[in-house]
C-alpha cells in the first residue's frame, strides 16, 4: 500500500524561536497584530508500507534518525492513504 505521510517538526514549547519573532515583528510592521506565532517545518512523503501503522513507524524512525533533533524539536506524523 502507498501512504502519504506528513511530518511536522516544531521547536519544543518554551524554546526560543528567533525566526518566529522576526516574522511576527514584520507582520506587525504591516499592521497584523498576532498574539503568538510559531514556525514549523513540514515534510510530505509517500511510502510503500504494509499498513498505516507501519508507515507511521517508519516516518517516526526518520524523525529520530535525521529529521528532528531531540534536544530542541518534537514531531508529529500523520498518515493518509
Amino acid at each position: 500500500m502507498k501512504y502519504d505521510v506528513t511530518i511536522t517538526i516544531a521547536l519544543k514549547e518554551g524554546m526560543l524561536d528567533p525566526e518566529a519573532r522576526a516574522i511576527r515583528h514584520a507582520l506587525a510592521n504591516l499592521g497584523f497584530e498576532t498574539e503568538a506565532l510559531r514556525t514549523a517545518r513540514l515534510f510530505r512523503l509517500t511510502l510503500d508500507a504494509p499498513s498505516a501503522e507501519d508507515a507511521a513507524a517508519e516516518a517516526e524512525k526518520m524523525c529520530e534518525r535525521l529529521l528532528a533533533n531531540p534536544v530542541i524539536h518534537h514531531y508529529t506524523v500523520e498518515v493518509a492513504e
Binding site: L16, P18, E19, R21, L67, N69, V71
Partner: protein
C-alpha cells in the same frame, strides 16, 4: 604523530586548518575526503568549519550521518582527540559527540566578528595551554551557533568541568551583552568523550593562530592537542 582534517562537501575552513597544523604547528596532517573514510588511525582529527550540505535541514545534520562519522566516533571512543570547529561543532553535536546542540542565533542573522572568550577549563587536552580565567580574542562566523542544552545537562557540564569556553567581555565578565548569539550560559566550547578527548567550539581558533591575523590566541588549542599526544606516546 599524524592529524587529519576531514573535508565534507561545503567545508571551507579545511585548508586554513590544514595550514595551521602543518605550517604553523609542524604536524603531518592529511586532508581526508569524507567519502574515503579514515584509512588509518589518527592522533587528532579536526572537523573544520564551512557549510556542509548547504546547512540544509540543520547545520551539520546531514554530514553527521555520513559513514565517515562512524570512524570518527570510533576514534572518540578510543580516546583519540577530536576537535570540531564551527560547522564541525555542529556536526559533532549532531553526531552525539557532546550533549546539547547548536541552533539558530537568538537574533537570526549571520554574525562575523571578533569576540572574547573566557577559558573555563585548563586541564583538557585542548585547553591545557591556557590558564583558567584567561581572556582570548577569536573570531566567530555563524548563523546557527547558539548552544542549547537542557538545565540538567548544563548542570552536569558545570559539575564535570566540561565547559571549555564562555563568551565574555574584554575584562572576562560573562554577561548577557557579551553573548553574541544567545547561547545557554554563554557556553561556546564544550568537552565530550570519556577523557575530555573531544571538544567542539563555535569560534574559529585557526583564524586566530598567527599574529599577522590580528590574534594568535587560538594557536594554543592546537599546540595543547599536540603536547597531549606527545605526552601519551
Amino acid at each position: 604523530m599524524r592529524f587529519a582534517v576531514v573535508q565534507f562537501g561545503g567545508s571551507n575552513c579545511d585548508r586554513d586548518t590544514l595550514y595551521v597544523l602543518e605550517e604553523v604547528c609542524g604536524v603531518d596532517t592529511d586532508l581526508v575526503w569524507y567519502k574515503d573514510g579514515l584509512q588509518r588511525n589518527y592522533d587528532g582529527i579536526v572537523l573544520p568549519g564551512g557549510f556542509s550540505y548547504g546547512d540544509y535541514l540543520r547545520a551539520g545534520a546531514i554530514a553527521a550521518r555520513t559513514p565517515v562519522m562512524q570512524d570518527i566516533l570510533r576514534h572518540a571512543r578510543e580516546g583519540r582527540l577530536i576537535l570540531g570547529i564551527c560547522n564541525g561543532a555542529q556536526i559533532g553535536s549532531e553526531a552525539g559527540l557532546i550533549p546539547g546542540t547548536f541552533t539558530l542565533n537568538a537574533y537570526p542573522k549571520f554574525i562575523s566578528r571578533h569576540v572574547y572568550l573566557r577559558v573555563e577549563n585548563d586541564t583538557s587536552p585542548f585547553t591545557a595551554g591556557y590558564r583558567k580565567g584567561d581572556v582570548i580574542r577569536v573570531p566567530i562566523a555563524h548563523k546557527e551557533g547558539r548552544y542549547v542544552a537542557a538545565p540538567d545537562v548544563v548542570d552536569r557540564l558545570n559539575r564535570e568541568d566540561r565547559i571549555a569556553f564562555r563568551f565574555c567581555d574584554e575584562n572576562g565578565a560573562v554577561t548577557p551583552e557579551s553573548n553574541p548569539n544567545g547561547s545557554t550560559e554563554n557556553i561556546t566550547g564544550v568537552l565530550g568523550g570519556d577523557m575530555c578527548n573531544v571538544m567542539v567550539m563555535m569560534p574559529h581558533p585557526e583564524r586566530a593562530s598567527e599574529s599577522a591575523l590580528g590574534s594568535d590566541a587560538g594557536i594554543r588549542i592546537f599546540t595543547s592537542m599536540i603536547a597531549h599526544v606527545e605526552q601519551q606516546k
